[in-house]
């Protein structure tokens, strides 16, 4: 309140404000440099202590010193003071410093607004349901502090109640604005380089070991929703990056360029589905082998990859379709076939010898492939998440010595042997399988479903998929990772089959999280257009949305004001009934004069309206006894209202 502006800040509201600051800043703590966390916590504590003990706040020169130290420290840590992380760090520091010079009402309000802003920055890092709940609590506490500063004579509990009520009433406005505010795609200006970091996913190269690391992650890679029944999990090969070049240790993509979609002969019916892909910082869009439709904003490659034009930095949803049965004849120019036969010199001599013996024994590619598959089936290879490290000749060591490995070992070895035998082969990575969430019907594919397989070229079948892992360890593809690995291997907790109750819980939670992702976090331009046209706004333009927004918010405000302001003055039924009585008589020419009390007015009205004299007189008596009588019978109020309602003059 204005009068309090220059007085010392009240204790309880300030406490609420400090709690709000803590809630807004705490989720940042693990991400901040440790000294910032310590410094901010110390300053927050200092401010609370100063308020508690009624100590004076630090002088301005000390704050200036802290500002300079903070700026310098942030610069030394991040090598910049701009960008997302440095910006958030500075915001936390300055908020803590501002608290130390918060003396007046005005300062407190500024701190509250800063905290609102800080709460928003948490969404840079996480937009989960939990984050949202935490931020809601933060906003509640901050708003309660704001209310408490404006009504310092009220108990804090009362301020919290008012804040909760304000927020509850703000929800309809928020919902309307959220769904109708025209969404703009893409950044308005260049994003700082550190805007997105720390996401997991497949890599653009494959070295034995990196997929098995990924397999220990429960994180969701993407979700898919099929228009009809999801296919059997054995057929779910989600195609990702394709690797052509092998240097003896690492497989790389080679030269990837967006071109015409390679040709293939579809067999059977296409399968329609949509994919909601988690951000993974790369351009790959995953689709079932073989994708038949390129989503908007994406391109295709000669080896059947789908590539988004920009790296996938936020959750995207795309509709696509695939043919599970096909004959992939495209992408097989002589140049490409040559590239698919490349082998590094002087690597894996035993494997090369074996492969060349196959080439001598059987002449055709088809037969060599069959030999290779047969070999893998009988080689007694073990599937493990914790393969032993391999030396220079990784294929030799895997095939003839350790005999245990993960999908990248299997596929790398198979592709290498095919190439050594002169059969064009390439590695395809992606995901295999997925799990249908029975709650919402979405197929969930996790990082632990990451997989690698091989495609070989035969004149008869074109590019033919061979999954050496499935050949050697069929259960991996039939029942999933958990069934395939030995029990002693580290598995993601939720991947274990025996914890059924935990899985049920997880299904529920993830279904909810998926709704959240689809409708809240993933609500974008396309979703908006989709929703609005379904709600009967054909081809929604931003003008139409703005108009609808305006009218709907106006309607909500009108309803609220009717409700709030009606309650403001019409709460006393006796007065309402009496006013109505006076209005009725006034229409018949008997208006109450300002000086007339109820008794004299009723007497005069009874005289002037003789045909209703008895009723008017009764109402007059009733009113006087209800209004001025000692302990009036509450039922008389109902009677009064009824008589007034029935009065005919």
């Amino acid at each position: 309140m204005a009068a309090a502006r220059n007085e010392p800040l009240p204790f309880h509201p300030l406490l609420a404000l400090l709690a709000g600051c803590l809630l807004a800043a705490a989720p940042h703590a693990p991400r901040l440099p440790w000294w910032v966390t310590l410094l901010a916590a110390a300053m927050l504590g200092w401010r609370a202590w100063a308020q508690w003990k009624n100590e004076i706040l630090p002088r301005r020169w000390l704050l200036m010193v802290l500002v300079i130290v903070g700026l310098g420290g942030v610069y030394l840590t991040y090598r910049t003071i701009f960008g997302r992380d440095a910006g958030v760090t500075l915001l936390v520091l300055f908020l803590a410093l501002k608290l130390l010079e918060t003396r007046t009402h005005r300062d407190a309000v500024v701190v509250t607004f800063l905290c609102y802003f800080l709460a928003l920055t948490n969404f840079f890092y996480s937009q989960t349901v939990l984050t949202a709940a935490l931020m809601l609590a933060t906003v509640l506490v901050l708003t309660a502090a704001l209310v408490a500063f404006n009504g310092p004579r009220r108990p804090l509990r009362e301020s919290a109640r008012v804040a909760a009520m304000l927020i509850a009433q703000a929800v309809p406005v928020m919902v309307i604005m959220f769904f109708l505010f025209p969404r703009v795609t893409g950044p308005l200006w260049g994003l700082p380089a550190d805007a997105f970091s720390g996401t997991t996913g497949l890599s653009d190269s494959m070295t034995p070991g990196n997929i098995s690391l990924l397999s220990q992650s429960d994180a969701i890679a993407f979700r898919a929703r099929f228009e009809e029944q999801a296919p059997d999990r054995r057929r779910l090969y989600w195609r990702g990056p394709v690797f052509w070049h092998f240097d003896g240790r690492t497989w790389r993509a080679g030269d990837v360029r967006v071109s015409e979609f390679a040709e293939f002969e579809p067999r059977g019916q296409p399968l329609f589905y949509s994919v909601t892909l988690e951000p993974h910082e790369r351009n790959w869009l995953f689709a079932l082998d073989i994708p038949a439709k390129v989503p908007p904003g994406a391109g295709a490659t000669g080896d059947f990859q789908l590539l988004a034009r920009l790296p996938v930095r936020s959750r995207v949803r795309y509709d696509t379709s695939s043919f599970l049965d096909y004959r992939a004849t495209g992408g097989a120019t002589p140049h490409e076939l040559e590239a698919a036969r490349q082998v590094p010199d002087d690597f894996n001599p035993r494997a090369v010898t074996l492969a060349q013996s196959w080439r001598r024994e059987v002449m055709t590619n088809e037969r060599i492939v069959s030999r290779g598959i047969e070999y893998f089936r009988r080689a007694n290879l073990q599937y493990t998440l914790a393969p032993r490290p391999l030396g220079r000749d990784s294929v030799d060591e895997f095939l003839f010595e350790t005999k245990s490995g993960f999908c990248e070992h299997f596929s790398s070895a198979f592709a290498f042997m095919m190439r050594a035998a002169g059969v064009p082969a390439r590695i395809v990575t992606g995901y295999q399988g997925g799990e249908v969430n029975p709650i919402d019907g979405y197929l969930v594919v996790r990082q632990s479903d990451a997989h690698a397989w091989v495609e070989v070229w035969t004149a008869q079948d074109g590019w033919l998929r061979v999954d050496p892992t499935a050949v050697a360890v069929p259960i991996r593809v039939e029942a999933g990772l958990a069934a395939a690995v030995p029990r002693t291997d580290p598995l993601p907790l939720l991947g274990r089959v025996e914890l059924t109750w935990l899985r049920a819980l997880r299904f529920n939670w993830e279904a909810f999280a998926n709704y959240w992702n689809q409708w809240v976090v993933g609500y974008n331009t396309e979703r908006q257009r989709d929703l609005l046209s379904r709600l009967g706004m054909p081809s929604p333009s931003w003008e139409k949305m703005a108009l609808a927004l305006f009218w709907l918010v106006g309607l909500v405000v009108a309803v609220f004001s009717l409700w709030l302001l009606r309650r403001a003055h019409g709460e006393d039924p006796v007065t309402v009934a009496w006013r109505r009585f006076c209005r009725k008589l006034a229409r018949r020419g008997t208006a109450r004069r300002p000086h007339e009390g109820p008794r004299s007015f009723a007497a005069r009205a009874a005289r002037e309206q003789p045909h209703a004299a008895a009723d008017v007189a009764e109402i007059g008596v009733l009113y006087v006894s209800v209004r001025y009588g000692r302990d009036p019978d509450p039922s008389l109020i109902g009677l009064l209202r009824q008589r007034v309602r029935e009065l005919k003059v």
């Binding site: 309140m1 204005a2 009068a3 309090a4 309000v109 500024v110 607004f113 609102y116 802003f117 709460a119 928003l120 969404f123 840079f124 937009q127 984050t131 949202a132 931020m135 906003v139 708003t143 704001l146 500063f149 404006n150 009504g151 310092p152 004579r153 009220r154 804040a163 304000l166 927020i167 009433q169 703000a170 929800v171 309809p172 406005v173 928020m174 604005m177 959220f178 505010f181 703009v184 950044p187 308005l188 200006w189 994003l191 805007a195 936020s314 809240v520 976090v521 993933g522 609500y523 974008n524 918010v553 405000v557 609220f560 004001s561 709030l564 302001l565 309650r567 403001a568 003055h569 006393d572």
Partner: protein, 325 residues
């Protein structure tokens, strides 16, 4: 003609009348009806709006859906707080209570009563009048009272000026206010200025003609005793007889008369200064419990003693217009 009538009924016209103080003072409780409660954002409200624009820009740029939600939620809080701020003020009945007289240069204490006829509490209702401010809460179906301390600049009648009743509750983003011109006034007495009391002996040439004929200490009769009577005048003989206490009344208390005389202030030039000196003398005489009279050009009060007499004298001094009336 009709346009003018229409204009006079319009809200803007009412606002202007109240704002400029041209409206007639309203007697009795003034209900702040919805039509006379105005609302606009405060400076904090504009800052909040700016913060929301920044938050929205950030949300668009970084594609933060939850950022949109947070921004819109806070925007919604801003929108509904318009209604709550408005509601916090509307339908309160304001009435001016006691206005205590004061001396020029001092302060007038003006009591304002709020009556809240509704079923919800009103919080942080602030009355402002010039630099004076007073805040209070008004409980549901209850009353609240504040005292505005207004500067009393000049002597004479003091009319309480236009009072702004306002509130920023609940979030301080908006200010709802209304103007009230209460029909309340009080007297501002001249500023007392240190002056010695004149000698009690009455100078013969200024004796009251009506009393001049009667001798000093002439016994005139008895009347019932009053607490302010001097013990020397009590009829002790009568008291000894067991009768009630009686006071002897003398005609022409000349010897004890204290006349505070406009013309008995030699060497004082200004009217206001004379009034100030006389005011002080009135107060001093009252304090010393000496019966006194006040002589102003064209007016004479007293002699007498007591609060009522004092107030009469002070009123005469406050409203003194140079003796032309």
């Amino acid at each position: 003609m009709r346009l003018q009538a229409l204009l006079q009924r319009s809200e803007l016209f009412q606002f202007w009348r109240l704002f400029s103080g041209r409206a007639a003072p309203e007697a009795g409780p003034v209900t702040l009806s919805q039509r006379r409660v105005y609302i606009l954002p405060t400076r904090h409200g504009y800052t909040f709006g700016l913060a929301l624009v920044l938050m929205l820009t950030g949300s668009i740029n970084y594609q933060l859906s939850l950022g949109y939600i947070l921004t819109f939620l806070l925007g919604g809080v801003g929108v509904v707080s318009i209604l709550h701020t408005f509601r916090n003020l509307a339908h309160i009945a304001v009435s001016a209570g006691r206005v205590e007289p004061a001396f020029a240069g001092g302060t007038v204490r003006c009591h304002l009563h709020y009556d809240n006829p509704t079923s919800f509490d009103r919080v942080s209702i602030e009355a402002r009048c010039g630099a004076a401010r007073a805040v209070c809460d008004v409980p549901a179906h209850g009353v609240g009272t504040v005292v505005l301390t207004l500067p009393a600049e000049r002597r004479g009648w003091f009319r309480v000026p236009r009072v702004t009743i306002e509130t920023h509750y609940p979030v301080g983003l908006l200010r709802a206010w209304s103007y009230v011109l209460p029909d309340a006034s009080t007297l501002v007495y001249p500023k007392p200025e240190e002056a010695a009391l004149p000698p009690p002996a009455a100078t013969p040439d200024r004796g009251d003609a009506a009393l001049a004929g009667t001798g000093n200490d002439d016994y005139w009769g008895l009347r019932p005793y009053q607490p302010s009577d001097s013990p020397r005048h009590i009829a002790w003989k009568a008291a000894a007889r067991g009768e009630t206490l009686l006071t002897k009344v003398f005609v022409g208390l000349g010897a004890f008369e204290l006349w505070l005389d406009w013309n008995a202030l030699p060497g004082v030039a200004g009217v206001e200064q004379r009034l100030s000196l006389l005011t002080h003398q009135v107060l001093a005489a009252e304090e010393a419990n000496l019966p006194y009279g006040l002589r102003l050009p064209g007016r004479e009060l007293g002699p007498g003693l007591g609060e009522r007499h004092r107030d009469d004298c002070l009123k005469a001094l406050a409203l003194f217009d140079g003796g032309r009336a």
